[in-house]
């Protein structure tokens, strides 16, 4: 039987991993994620979870352990944030290139310097080109559900995934979370079968140097070149949207909460003004939209639940009636603009859509973003017909 518990995002992530019966965990504590490894260690020590918790001296090693364990067929889990994720950078590419279905919980936190322990999305956005899938959670329930779905999606596609949620804002806030029944999770999630058997009857050497052109192996079979493997990763991510939708629908059939969507939408019917964002900020944006609707505005929220693969076609569809798109980014590509802004513009280009677009950089290093801020920014950008030079910063009083 499922039951509701009032728990924070970190406890939710740990519990989600436990329900997925992960077999190897390697994680290094970092604020605001520390409670995840702490909770998992307790599960392992008490015997509640039959897993190896491997203590490591750094995040780079944590992911390396996960890569090794996943290669030989273990279901693995890790969690990190901010500089810890940055330290994993090299191995992030490796995990995706080796096509390992590693699931990572990421409590989004800003990067130093200067030091911050607080929330923004610069950490995960900086890793968007590593080949990992990325989903962003709106609340703790989504953390639980996304982790369970992540294993099913990743093990089908042989691609790793980051389940991202706002540090402190969700990691440290308790709220009701329905904890799925273990038997239902077991039935939903088949056991992991690796795509290679390294030490089988015919041992293999994995990920050797690849040349620029295909080569014939000892059996005379033509094997892909480096680019051939990289193209396969891209093709898989291009097709991942359908897998994510299917798994989301199946999840709904079993657990009653469907995730057959790549975007989260709120009051978008007839909306000509769209507030576009990601993660927990979508909740605050929904309050802003309620206030704008009160004032007679036709406003709605679109939040990217899945950021990689980027749901360009779905987003284009969702924005097809919009005259104004106001994009709130908790990250910035310095010298340009927020990442979701750039990606949204690119998605709209293909459909020839030309709404006004204003990009606001918000919430860096834990700066609070209230519904009133989002509302005022929307009004300002629409009144100025998108002629506001972008990106604009909210909440910086020098």
């Amino acid at each position: 039987m499922s039951k509701v518990q009032i728990i924070n995002g970190n406890e939710t992530a740990a519990m989600g991993a436990k329900l997925c019966r992960v077999q190897v965990i390697a994680a290094y504590p970092i604020t605001p994620q520390s409670k995840i490894p702490e909770t998992l260690v307790k599960y392992v020590e008490s015997g509640e979870l039959a897993a190896e918790f491997i203590r490591v001296e750094s995040e780079h090693s944590a992911l390396t352990v996960c890569i090794s364990a996943s290669t030989v067929g273990a279901r693995v889990f890790t969690a990190t944030a901010a500089n810890g994720l940055a330290y994993m950078h090299e191995q992030l590419h490796w995990a995706a290139g080796a096509r390992l279905p590693i699931v990572m919980a990421l409590a989004n936190r800003g990067l130093g310097a200067p030091w911050t322990i607080f929330n923004d999305m610069q950490d995960s956005i900086s890793q968007r080109d590593t080949g990992w899938m990325q989903v962003y959670c709106r609340d703790n329930q989504e953390i639980m559900d996304s982790i369970i779905m992540a294993y099913k999606i990743c093990e089908q596609l042989h691609v790793p995934m980051m389940v991202c949620f706002d540090g402190f804002v969700l990691s440290h806030t308790v709220m009701p979370v329905e904890i799925p029944d273990q038997k239902q999770v077991d039935a939903f999630l088949p056991s992991y079968v690796p795509h290679l058997q390294v030490d089988g009857p015919e041992p293999i050497n994995i990920n050797p140097v690849m040349l620029a052109d295909p080569r014939a192996n000892a059996q005379g079979v033509s094997c892909p070149s480096y680019m051939g493997f990289r193209m396969r990763l891209q093709e898989t991510l291009e097709s991942a949207g359908d897998v994510i939708l299917n798994v989301g629908r199946e999840f709904g059939e079993v657990f009653g909460r469907s995730y057959e969507c790549l975007l989260w939408k709120y009051r978008t019917e007839g909306a000509d003004t769209i507030l576009l964002t990601m993660g927990s900020l979508a909740n605050e944006a929904s309050l802003a939209v309620d206030a704008l609707r009160e004032k007679g505005w036709k406003a709605g929220v679109v939040a990217l639940r899945v950021f990689r693969p980027f749901p360009a076609a779905t987003l284009r569809q969702a924005l097809s009636k919009a005259k104004h798109v106001v994009i709130f980014d908790k990250n910035i590509s310095y010298g340009n603009e927020g990442a979701t802004c750039t990606e949204t513009k690119a998605a709209l280009f293909e459909g020839g859509l030309r709404p006004t677009i204003t990009n606001y950089i918000v919430g860096l290093g834990g700066k609070n973003v209230a519904a009133a801020d989002l509302e005022a920014a929307t009004i300002k950008s629409v009144e100025q017909k998108g002629q506001v030079s972008t990106p604009q910063w909210i909440g910086v009083a020098v």
Binding site: I6, N8, F118, V169, L170, H172, T173, M175, E284, N368
Partner: protein, 200 residues
């Protein structure tokens, strides 16, 4: 239970205490109790940051008949609970309380002592003495956080004692729960309020 079940009003509670006093735990137990009481939306969070023993800290609890959509810090709370009355001198406690809000204090003095020229209601309870009396002392520290939940229930009428006791029970071992519940009950009884208070 108070209030219309369909109402979306969010009730904001801010807790002021010192690191180690258990304000965060109290905030979270209150959220659990509110959920058991039928509030669909509940959240609780520490003030995000680094916690240090003895330093002033705050925590928040929110509850509503509908799921809660804001995760921003509370600007002005409906109810403020203060675990250490000395904090009134160092922290702008009243600045974070609505003009017609409810202030609940752990104090051996009566509410009159704290009545201001503002329109707020004030409730006090000597949780310190009660916690000592029931044996809520660990390593010389008197633990008053759960006891004050009794004062919250009595003064605000927003969450029933029955739900609070159940929530306390779920957070402690059997023996510890018994003592904590006893502390909350006695504090409930001992709570005095300067006037009847109702959520605006």
């Amino acid at each position: 239970m108070v209030g219309d079940l369909t109402e979306e009003k969010v009730i904001n509670v801010t807790w002021h205490g010192r690191g180690g006093q258990g304000a965060v735990t109290a905030a979270m137990i209150l959220a659990e109790a509110a959920y058991l009481d039928g509030y669909q939306g509940v959240t609780a969070a520490p003030f995000f940051g680094v916690e240090r023993r003895g330093a002033p800290i705050t925590a928040t609890t929110r509850f509503s008949r509908k799921p809660i959509r804001t995760l921003s810090p509370t600007a002005q709370a409906d109810v403020v609970v203060v675990l250490d009355e000395r904090l009134l001198q160092t922290v702008d406690v009243l600045g974070g309380l609505k003009p017609d809000g409810l202030l609940i204090l752990n104090s051996s003095s009566g509410p009159e002592k704290f009545c201001t020229d503002m329109d707020i209601a004030v409730a006090t309870s000597d949780a310190n003495s009660i916690a000592k009396e029931v044996g809520l002392v660990v390593a010389g520290t008197v633990l008053i956080n759960t006891s004050l939940l009794g004062a919250f229930s009595k003064a605000s009428c927003l969450v029933q004692m029955e739900s609070l006791e159940k929530a306390i029970g779920e957070n402690f071992s059997k023996q510890a729960a018994k003592v904590n519940i006893q502390g909350a009950r006695l504090t409930y009884e001992a709570t005095r309020i300067n006037r009847d208070w109702q959520l605006s």
